[in-house]
Subunit: 335 residues, 2 copies
């Protein structure tokens, strides 16, 4: 131990083996885990002979700030945004591996809390944290790869939206963006329930995991998670499908969401409808369904699909909302 | 474009969509790829109802330096060290996903070369680069997750070494450590074939991928890749198996390897035997076999397994080599 006894230990005080021994017991084994973490690789069940895989990286100072929330929040959020990608294919998440870059001065307690956050999001879903890697670096980086089981379903891609289909959404919209705006403005939030709730939505998004496989079973023709904002992600779906997607006016389609965001928007002098249309990181599910199909639980109709016009495949917000769509969504390098 | 026309473009000059469009065509689709990169997640075949998964992170300034080698080297090395983990389970690698953190000032050409390096290592093995994520950050981070197919085999774990078994190794030992020492010393190397070869071994390790499944088929009882040095990794195998592992004298068991390293060691005033015993990053395969079994192609006997003594499970270098084992191997946080 290089730290004095009265200081909290940092990761440089422990060997890699000691660090792994300290957090490995906190990580859940999943229902599909055959050989867990600890060998060169883990072995995971893929009962239908396929697996779904997605990866996402969170970088300190870009995707999270250590002074904005706890390490549990960072772990839960890193897990949630990846698990949402699996749900968006119509699959059940089964297994996760996590690559971590940590500055040597990171408190060991922060690392353990990160592991607890990962576990809090994974364990209730039966997802194992089945492997990982630890490295030193200047900033914390959390690189998560998550796997899922389609249970025999066909994967639901972004490219299946067809003219006449209904566009629907499950989960939150605009709430993480509102929370981010509160934190960035340094606005006190613990005393105000509306404000505290959106900060919580940013620090710990709650994707509607079960809605993914349910949507697939209900005949979803296209699906994706909304990570970069409704307008930007619906635009991606439109281009992948070669269609035009028309969004309904948010004041009608998303009236309750708008009403819940407005008190926070007023405190900040911000635009609640813009959060709904362009705010990312809530990781709800955007899907299309044939018009004769009832929407599965949790989904709300927010638009329609029609053939692409002379302008080509694109998303078209309601004319009533045009003034709220100024930024098309997040770009990691140009934000 | 924010750069002037006579400057090479950097990643901040392109949108994330443009960047992805620029490198995606360079990435191979694998023989197991069912739905490639471009959706929320990829879908990969797992014919025997299981998959093997491992993850590793490379951090600029810790695992590589951009002024030491090309981006192709970085990409190939990131792929190789992960693919070796799959081979070490006795599996065939099938699919990779890559999370990238890039400073906004990274030349686009560097990113494209990184993709080429990944492809050069993956394509000959039929491995697809099936997904990824791009984020901005202060230093380059390459987070690779790789998957493999056991083709019906039982995974070969670290924990199967039993008293009486033979310890064997396939691939290079000490060469990457020698190359690292050359680069760190700033020694010129292009004019000297021995020195250039070890630098090449550090920049682009060449794990014996095929030897992994072959060892499994030949009855390997334990296996792992040597990423942190022979003594340290054999110690891990000993502890996982609850045995003592005795290493043969390197001057006998690894005489040709020693002879090839000695000219470089002399130039640096370094210890070639220490590179063999404690140098990591060559990603050869360490395996144990029952004594009555012939070793599969590429494996050389380098030690024996016996029951753990009063000191408990451990690795014991030959008494002839004790003076060469000063550092037990790499620790990411305390090195």
């Amino acid at each position: 131990m290089t730290s004095s006894p009265d200081q909290a230990p940092v990761v440089a005080d422990l060997s890699e083996t000691e660090l792994i021994a300290s957090f490995a017991p906190l990580l859940p084994r999943g229902r599909a885990t055959l050989v867990p973490t600890g060998d060169d690789a883990a072995v995971v069940a893929a009962p239908d002979g396929r697996f779904v895989v997605s990866t996402d990286v969170l970088v300190e100072g870009h995707h999270f700030r250590r002074d904005w929330g706890t390490a549990r929040d960072v772990g839960a959020r890193a897990a949630a945004q990846n698990l949402a990608d699996i749900a968006a294919m119509g699959a059940l998440p089964t297994s996760m591996v996590v690559g971590l870059v940590l500055p040597p001065t990171t408190p060991v307690a922060w690392l353990l809390d990160l592991a607890r956050g990962l576990a809090e999001e994974c364990a209730p879903l039966g997802v194992g944290v089945d492997g990982g890697d630890l490295s030193a670096g200047e900033r914390v980086v959390v690189a998560v790869t998550v796997h899922g089981d389609l249970e025999g379903r066909a994967p639901v891609l972004r490219s299946g939206a067809r003219p006449g289909h209904v566009l629907a959404h499950a989960g939150a919209l605009g709430r993480a963006a509102a929370g981010y705006a509160v934190l960035e403005a340094g606005l006190p939030y613990t005393g105000d329930p509306d404000t505290a709730a959106v900060v919580g939505a940013f620090l710990r998004p709650a994707p509607p995991y079960a809605a993914g496989p349910q949507a697939a079973d209900a005949g979803a023709t296209a699906m994706m998670d909304v990570s970069d904002g409704l307008v930007r992600d619906a635009g991606r779906m439109a281009r992948a499908s070669g269609v035009e997607i028309l969004l309904d006016p948010v004041a009608e389609a998303l009236a309750p969401d708008l009403a819940r965001l407005e008190p926070v928007a007023r405190r900040l002098g911000a635009d609640a409808a813009a959060w709904l249309l362009t705010g990312g990181e809530d990781h709800g599910l955007l899907a299309t369904f044939a018009p004769d199909r009832p929407l599965p639980p949790g989904f709300r109709r927010i638009g329609t699909v029609r053939a692409a016009g002379p302008a080509g495949p694109r998303v078209v917000p309601s004319p009533a909302d045009a003034a709220h769509v100024t930024a098309p969504g997040w770009d990691h390098f140009r934000a």
